[in-house]
């Protein structure tokens, strides 16, 4: 129930939104850098941002179709929207906020208050709540209006980082109880990885790839998608043979067990996919810089045999020394276009 289908077009002076999406499965994440149009898309689906043209259907119900001059008001679209700052009404108590969208159904409001662990806070104003409580109130308020789909715009950006992981688990549980489609917009790949079963990657106003979360991280296919999923090392690539690829920036050749597609333009290696190796390691390490984080060691290095651009590797803090040589498992090498 509640699949979201949308084609969204809007043109600005120096930006063009041109998106097509069909939400596969239950929770769809939208990953993109800030300014790529992801929030705008979400707002357009909810009807609070105007489009030039396009089409939006929620659970098969058409709420916007420029060709047929259909443009339902946000009130009639039945889409719940969680704002980045939660947009709780500051002049209303927690109870009044949740009841605002519920009509006369006080029983349901009370039910939501207990389900979202807000008992005892009903008569407080939002300014008195912690970030997590605000988020729960905002979600309860949205569910009180009985939406058919949920749109969450950067749901964790307003929270302290130590709270995030716990609240992400909590949110995941709540979302699993919701029957309609859910879309979560974020620039944080970890957040989307934890919450979503599919992820769509957006870049400059367009949907560049959409696939299952695990598959996307394993094979992002596109350079932009690789960057946004956290791949730190990307180099232009030359297809040397059927199964041999050369990373132009690093002066390294890799032999793969799969056929290299003709349209490959770049290769990517995630920083943690470098493995310390003995003499037979593919790359000789010439350390440029070492930066320690609490639980890992980030090493900026060059290929000592054929120095080119630098690469990043991430090792466990257990490694006291920077290894002399490293290798990469051939299936961890990302071929990108």
């Amino acid at each position: 129930m509640g699949q979201i289908e949308a084609s969204l077009q809007k043109e600005f002076k120096n930006f063009k939104l041109n998106m097509n999406l069909t939400s596969p499965g239950h929770i769809l994440g939208v990953l993109g850098a800030s300014g790529c149009g992801k929030s705008m898309s979400l707002k357009a689906i909810a009807g609070i941002s105007a489009l030039d043209k396009g089409k939006v259907a929620i659970g098969g119900r058409i709420v916007y179709d420029s060709g047929r001059r259909i443009d339902l008001t946000p009130q009639k679209r039945k889409v719940g929207y969680l704002f980045q700052n939660y947009a709780l009404f500051p002049n209303m108590t927690v109870y009044e906020n949740i009841a605002a969208g519920a009509g006369r159904d006080t029983f349901y409001v009370k039910n939501l208050i207990s389900r979202f662990h807000l008992e005892g806070l009903e008569s407080l104003y939002p300014g008195r709540l912690s970030g997590g409580q605000q988020q729960r109130t905002a979600l309860a308020r949205i569910l009180a209006s009985r939406p058919e789909a949920l749109l969450l715009d950067e749901p964790f950006s307003a929270l302290d980082s130590y709270l995030k992981e716990e609240l992400q688990m909590e949110l995941k549980e709540r979302l699993s109880e919701f029957e309609g489609a859910v879309m979560i917009v974020s620039h944080d790949r970890d957040e989307l990885y934890r919450l979503c079963d599919h992820i769509m990657v957006m870049s400059s106003g367009a949907n560049i790839i959409c696939k299952g979360t695990e598959e996307l991280f394993a094979n992002p296919e596109k350079v932009e998608a690789a960057r946004l999923t956290g791949c730190k090392n990307i180099s232009p690539a030359i297809r040397v043979g059927e199964q041999v690829v050369e990373a132009a920036d690093w002066g390294v050749r890799f032999r793969l067990n799969r056929r290299i597609p003709e349209h490959m333009r770049y290769i990517g290696i995630r920083a943690h996919d470098f493995l310390p190796a003995d003499r037979d390691g593919q790359i000789a390490v010439e350390t440029v810089h070492v930066a320690d984080a609490p639980f890992e060691r980030n090493i900026l290095f060059k290929n000592a045999d054929n120095p080119g651009e630098t690469m990043w590797m991430k090792l466990d803090r257990g490694y006291r020394q920077v290894p002399e040589r490293v290798s990469v498992r051939e299936d961890k090498i990302l071929l990108l276009e």
Binding site: A46, P74, Q75, Y81, F83, P90, G127, A144, S145
Partner: protein, 225 residues
């Protein structure tokens, strides 16, 4: 001492603020909702004009419209049997028109500073526009709206130029406090002018203090939240 200017002034100021308060707020609400930027600028300029024009010029336009033989003036005479120019009603008209932009601009600023996500959120929750206005926009804009109302009230109380143009200076009918001060001075009676001046200063001071008290009360409300 003739007390009629005090009564006339207070009555005029009260009537004009009632008119200005609601029309100014409505105009602000409508202008905020205009999407087309050019149309918005044009309306804003038109509605703010009485504030920036010299009051005598505004009064001239009022006289031009509401004079007995003028389109609006003859309309009122014909259909309502009311002569507006040089009657008490004209003092209200002048005060309302001159103080309107203060109310309109304050209300507009107050509406615009309300986080638009609150309005969007209310819409996605299915709240009708009228309910959104009453329960979200208005309460969150109230401090700005009220201070605009008090400013407009004080301005209406002190209105002189436009009133003189369209209402004249008829003792006991259209002579408000500012006009009474002018008349006393013109007649060389400084003693009489002092009294009226004192009363005007007192009333204006009370209005501004009332604004500060109200602002303080709202801040206290906010702290409780």
């Amino acid at each position: 001492m003739d007390f009629s200017p005090i009564l006339i002034s207070l009555k005029t100021a009260v009537f004009s603020i009632v008119i200005t308060f609601f029309t100014g707020m409505l105009a602000a609400y409508l202008v905020v909702r205009i999407r087309n930027v050019k149309v918005k600028i044009a309306w804003d300029g038109f509605l703010t004009l009485p504030l920036v024009l010299p009051p005598t010029v505004a009064g001239f336009f009022l006289l031009y419209l509401f004079g007995v033989k003028r389109p609006l003036g003859s309309f009122f005479v014909e259909y309502f049997g009311v002569k507006i120019a040089f009657s008490w009603g004209a003092t209200v008209l002048a005060a309302a028109v001159i103080s309107f932009p203060l109310m309109y601009r304050s209300a507009r600023g107050a509406f615009e500073q309300v986080d638009e996500n609150l309005i969007f959120a209310a819409r996605t929750l299915g709240m009708p526009e009228a309910v959104i206005f009453r329960r979200i926009l208005l309460p969150n804009a109230l401090p700005g709206i009220l201070s605009g109302g008090i400013l407009a009230f004080a301005r209406g109380l002190g209105e002189f130029g436009a009133t003189a143009m369209i209402a004249g200076n008829i003792a006991g009918r259209t002579r408000t406090l500012p006009l009474a001060v002018y008349s006393e001075v013109a007649a060389g009676n400084m003693e009489g002018a002092y009294r009226y001046v004192l009363i005007l200063v007192l009333l204006s001071f009370l209005a501004v203090s009332g604004m500060n008290v109200a602002a303080g009360w709202f801040r206290k409300q906010d702290r409780r939240r």
